[in-house]
Symmetry: C2
Subunit: 513 residues, 2 copies
């Protein structure tokens, strides 16, 4: 689980094949196996009420599946009531369909030591996703570029506290909209040897992403194993757009995992009250997850959720607030009752700087991901500015928080060595543990050092320049980028990927929006 | 529970007596009644192992009670094995003694609407305690003065998110050590109408504090009700100093609540491993709590704990780190098994600025207080600099976090109104909830606005000066102090307190260390 335990990938198709075989085994994955149980917030009756409300929404109001006749055909065949684009579902129908989805699955990385297990008691941290802007202390806010995107892939790869390379870490806005997915997937493969996500913004972009995964892993391996995720969003309330369902079906068809996520801003795309928003999200997510199983029974799928709150003053969304933090605990319970891996919450804030607000909100939100039992924590690092900006400094600070959460999630080990009864006998009342045998044996591993925090005495800190955490983080990301070395990649695969990207880029005009 | 629901105190002894009678009722206290359950980290076997380790420490190593013959006499009479200052306890003996301690109790405030219930599912937030220094953005770090102390009492009183005025919020170092408790208690009574804490640094200072409470509440009322807390520390490992036990016994004798707290820096005053530190703390705390029951069976007492970690580089204590955060969860379980109200964790950091580090560490640490089930959260607001400094800005930021935790701890209400099924029927797929009846009925109360966070769009924030959270907090505390009005206090009581303070100050020389 530690970075030091990860082996560098070695070149050669054979070696890779050998490692792939090893990757089938479920043990020893990176990611965290949690010893801290999720919080069970609601009682059985309240959970049943939410589930029944979701069932009524599905049966009485229904969900529209727009611009995707194949999806409507799947629903019709499965026995749903389809009228035009509106689909209604008998209570229990979606749960029945979802019973074929795996409770947990392995997402393979090109370096098998980095493959992750998603589900059950596993926790996987991935960078934030989807910001058009980037920020740093030197240059402020600007539109993201491919260079920024590549930088964040490098920073993620070089952090021992993330397990996943993520997807659209920031939008590379200097590349045409219809071609940037090629550069993004290529960067994930070249600059990282961890698992990653592909595009979902059009069916052909989803298929390009999967095709590139096939070049990397081999087509047969991909058909039998999850190697790429696609994060698809509901157009809440109660609408699935064809762009998303076609991408979702493309991932499922290829036996790859869709992450199915409603985005409900209370008072706009859903009720302002958390229980209603959660019921709606449950309905929308179950429908999307079930569609993956109609496309290909047994395909891996992740139950996603994203709650947000609203500023009463401006009507704009707020993040890192307590309502979604506690609402996520209920979402976690519902996902566990469905037996699906969960993506929920992450590190959110509306702050425009990597300041006290950013980390107060970010920590509350990130801890709700931990306590709700999320298995795949997208948005673990980088967000500022209400999800609109990726911050270089915040990324570094958030990775450090992820490191602290590794320690937190390990819980408290209780055994003869940790209870230290011999030490009490040795030291006695009024004594000092500093030199005792127990301390000497354990002090080096007892406490995790922070990467970004300053624990010097005040005077030392003052003499060293009285820096704040953001300034230290600024220095850290620059050093990380300067020292970065990409993990080795088979040159033949690299070339095949480059060829694929060049060929696809040559097809069709550039689109800029 | 809301500030708006609190009545201003009205003058007159009769009115006060009437309010006191009302204060006996347990309902409608301020403080939070939690709907989020504590985290049950360890299984039964692990908890038993820690309890048995504590029992063995108590029986085989023992605890020294220094310079307090009366305490030794109490132990001897209770059947403990006393040899010199060393006291050893048969397994089960302390638990038996502790069975007379209340599981929860009311601490009365001079404004009965502010009385708090401590224990069970209640959460009470109090300011930080004990820093020699204060800090603000304008003047940096300096020794605390009585004016600073008074300022923090005012800031606490003016926050709707704290429930308690605390104790030594900062050391008023411009007042002699042996007399400053008089000014501190006077400030708590004059500038706040919430519950407060008294001195413990010498037996006569503890008795002065209680005597001032008697002037305020009446001697009979004080003998029958808890009106003041005293926070006493173990001299870990396994030593209780006479200064502390005499103060502890003074509080118990007066039927007032001692908060019994070991301070274990792993590797120095206890083992570096969390399980051992927790076992030691359990032994030390049980002994202190039991002593209160020998002094006066039935006296209220709070099981306190304070875990810390260590910097491997410097050997100095670190705060807001994950090891104490998760260790606190185990401590909470042990306190609940003992059936005692719990004080544990708080808002800790080693940062020297109200920056990202301060709130990342502070939030992790504060949320561990929430999730471990702490009933009395001392140190909820203000600490920076490894507990050495009270920061004006951090205080404001922390109070805002306490506000967010009010919302978080309320959990998720699930009923017909919050499930909003009518709204889904009204809005339908693809519709908008903004104008629907459900939103109009609930939006004003749905989301708590932050006091210190900025949720404006980037451009608005930039035009308004691009301030960070610390700068906003700086403005907020200045405005709060400028607008502060002390809650009304019966002039006769005010005068009697002033007389008492003047008389006691005139007795004996000033001591400066």
């Amino acid at each position: 689980m530690e970075a030091s335990a990860r082996r560098k990938g070695q070149g050669g198709r054979q070696a890779r094949q050998a490692r792939r075989a090893e990757a089938g085994a479920p043990a020893g994955r990176p990611g965290i196996r949690r010893a801290v149980p999720p919080i069970e917030l609601l009682d059985e009756e309240s959970l049943l009420r939410i589930e029944r409300a979701a069932d009524r929404i599905l049966a009485e109001v229904g969900i529209e599946f727009r611009d995707d006749p194949a999806a409507l055909a799947l629903w019709r065949r499965a026995g749903a009531r389809v009228e035009g684009a509106l689909v209604r579902f008998e209570p229990g129908m979606l749960r029945e369909i979802l019973s074929s989805a795996p409770r947990a699955f392995v997402q393979h990385a090109r370096n098998p030591a980095n493959s992750v297990r998603i589900g059950a008691d596993q926790v996987v941290f991935a960078p934030a996703y989807g910001s058009p802007f980037v920020m740093d202390l030197d240059r402020g806010r600007r539109y993201g570029t491919l260079e920024d995107f590549q930088n964040f892939v490098k920073l993620a790869q070089s952090s021992p506290w993330l397990h996943h390379s993520g997807g659209t870490i920031c939008e590379p806005t200097d590349i045409p909209v219809n071609k940037r997915h090629l550069d993004m997937v290529l960067a994930h493969i070249r600059l990282s040897d961890r698992p990653f996500m592909g595009s979902v913004t059009a069916e052909d972009r989803a298929e390009d992403s999967i095709e590139m995964a096939r070049i990397l892993f081999g087509a047969d391996f991909v058909d039998a194993n999850c190697v790429i995720l696609g994060n698809v969003n509901v157009n809440s309330p109660l609408v699935w757009d064809g762009t998303m369902t076609r991408a979702l079906r493309a991932y499922a068809r290829a036996n790859q995992a869709a992450v199915v996520v409603p985005f409900i801003l209370g008072g706009a795309m859903g009720p302002v009250t958390t229980a209603g928003a959660v019921a709606q999200a449950l309905a929308e997510t179950m429908a999307g997850c079930a569609l993956t199983q109609l496309e290909r029974p047994g395909a891996p799928v992740i139950f996603g959720n994203f709650l947000s709150s609203m500023s009463l003053r401006s009507g704009s969304p707020t993040f890192g607030t307590p309502e979604p933090a506690v609402g996520s605990l209920a979402v976690g319970q519902l996902a566990r009752r469905l037996g699906l891996p969960l993506r929920c919450a992450g590190n959110f804030t509306t702050s425009k700087l990597p300041d006290a607000q950013a980390m107060a909100e970010g920590a509350m939100s990130m801890l709700s991901a931990i306590h709700c039992g999320a298995n795949f924590v997208l948005h673990s690092a980088g967000f500022l500015d209400g999800l609109l900006s990726m911050s270089y400094e915040k990324f570094v600070l958030d990775c450090d928080l992820c490191g602290a959460l590794h320690t937190y999630l390990q819980g408290v080990r209780v055994d003869e060595a940790t209870l230290a009864l011999d030490a009490f006998a040795e030291v006695g009342p009024g004594g000092h543990f500093f030199g005792c045998a127990h301390t000497l044996a354990h002090y080096e591993t007892a406490f995790r050092p922070s990467e970004t925090g300053d624990d010097d005495p005040y005077e030392t800190w003052l003499e060293a320049g009285a820096e704040d955490a953001a300034t230290r983080a600024n220095r850290i990301w620059k050093r990380r980028l300067a020292e970065f070395e990409p993990p080795p990649l088979d040159p033949a695969i690299d070339e095949a990927l480059a060829d694929f990207v060049a060929r696809r880029k040559a097809q069709g005009p550039d689109m800029w929006h």
